[in-house]
């Protein structure tokens, strides 16, 4: 399972990158693989205020529906509308074109509650 070095991770298999106060959020390789072919995404509303670890989006695959939780608190400033017509991008490019939303980060120190790449790799091994 691919894990990117520069990202932070949650136990629910979301990733986040933080750049100049803006967080980009997506789901990990493990999440997209577990879901299988993703067929639908419900994106958050623009300007919505989300709390850390609260629901941000929901995704559906052929098999199941799953919530996506926000790794950080913040305000939604951009959503990846491309996913509405092409949710398979979440499978094909979960760390790239399949990003879900961008947040104006409320408190960067919340990142201490997230896992780094090494820690997430160890966490994935513990799930096997």
């Amino acid at each position: 399972m691919e894990v990117m070095d520069h990202l932070y991770y949650t136990k629910e298999h979301e990733w986040v990158s933080i750049d100049d106060g803006v967080a980009t959020v997506g789901i990990t390789e493990y999440a997209q693989d577990a879901l299988g072919d993703i067929t639908f995404i419900e994106l958050p509303d623009m300007d919505a205020e989300v709390e850390q670890f609260e629901q941000l989006a929901s995704v559906e695959s052929v098999k199941a529906a799953n919530d996506v939780y926000s790794p950080l608190s913040g305000k939604v400033i951009e959503v990846n509308t491309e996913l509405q017509d092409n949710p398979a991008l979440l499978n094909k490019s979960c760390y790239g074109l399949g990003w879900i939303a961008k947040l104006q980060v409320a408190a960067e120190d919340e990142a201490t509650k997230l896992m780094g790449a090494e820690e997430y790799r160890t966490y994935l091994e513990s799930l096997e």
């Binding site: 299988g36 072919d37 067929t39 639908f40 559906e60 695959s61 052929v62 098999k63 529906a65």
Partner: protein, 361 residues
Amino acid sequence: MPLKQTPIYNEHLRLQAKMVPFGGWDMPVQYESIIAEYKAVRQDVAVFDICHMGEFIIEGDARSTGLDRIVTQSLNDLPVQSCRYGAMLNSQGGVIDDLIVFRLQPEKWMLVVNGSTIEKDKAHILGQLKDPACFQDISDRTGKLDVQGPCSREFLKPLLAGIEKLSYYTFAEFSLLDERVIVSRTGYTGELGYEIYISAEKVVALWQKLLELGAQPAGLGSRDVLRIEMGYSLYGHELDDGRSPLEAGLNPFICWDKDFIGKPALLKQKESGLKYKVVCFVSDSRRSPREGLDVYDAAGSLAGKVSSGTFSPALSRGIGLAFVERAGVEVGQQISFGHDDMRTPAQVVSRPIYKNGSLKA
């Protein structure tokens, strides 16, 4: 109880299939992608491991053995080398199982039943047959592979000489891998397709051969999408011991000109009026209905529940089957599914939902 494994189990592991529990069996839900496997069935040819299903042999006259009363389908007019879909009912009219009866010889029958219900079916049948000695459960020594897709006939021709002569819902014996096998032109996908019954010893070799010749291995995930697109019932979803087969739309598979277990109960239901019926529907969006969600009629009143739901790759929409109150929900009407605070609009459509299958090609 540990999950049961089909003879193909190690092949699934080798292909790195995702395995899931299904009716007491450890079965492949997908190999690489449900949608890719779905497409192979709709456009090309794919093979499913269906060894979990049960096969029973009953020898003797349909009436004098008691078989005729056990199943709803008509047997006396079923030609040898033909098969027919129907159900086994309990005395309250609930569905013990749905099944296909094969007429092997004038007085020899094969019953093909669901994998999850083999023991229950067997107990019921043995309790109803006049002489249990005419019954044999051959499930463990019988393998079953389903070869499905518009190219399945051309694909199988080199292996099964004369396969092109089989018409829909007929079968024949063929020589394959040095043994006599039964091949029926049946399936659960809506496409042209065949089901091969071969010994459990040879079924792995056949699986390997079919893959080598280019058939896509397909798992139960794609099988479920295919059957929902066709509006086919799945035992445990549209059919169960407490559900009337008339509500589930099985009426065409019930022979009213004979006696069968459950018939008096069904006649009573007809007289007093049925409350529910099963309908097919298509979501207005890509959002898929899921089993157990509520269904609301055009006026927004609660009308029933989703029994099966998935995403249709053919329509790029969510699709489903639902039990709804008989009066008030008709084909063409707008309905919605979901729950109180989140409803997704959908439209009731005629069965099948997917209308371009090569089933009878």
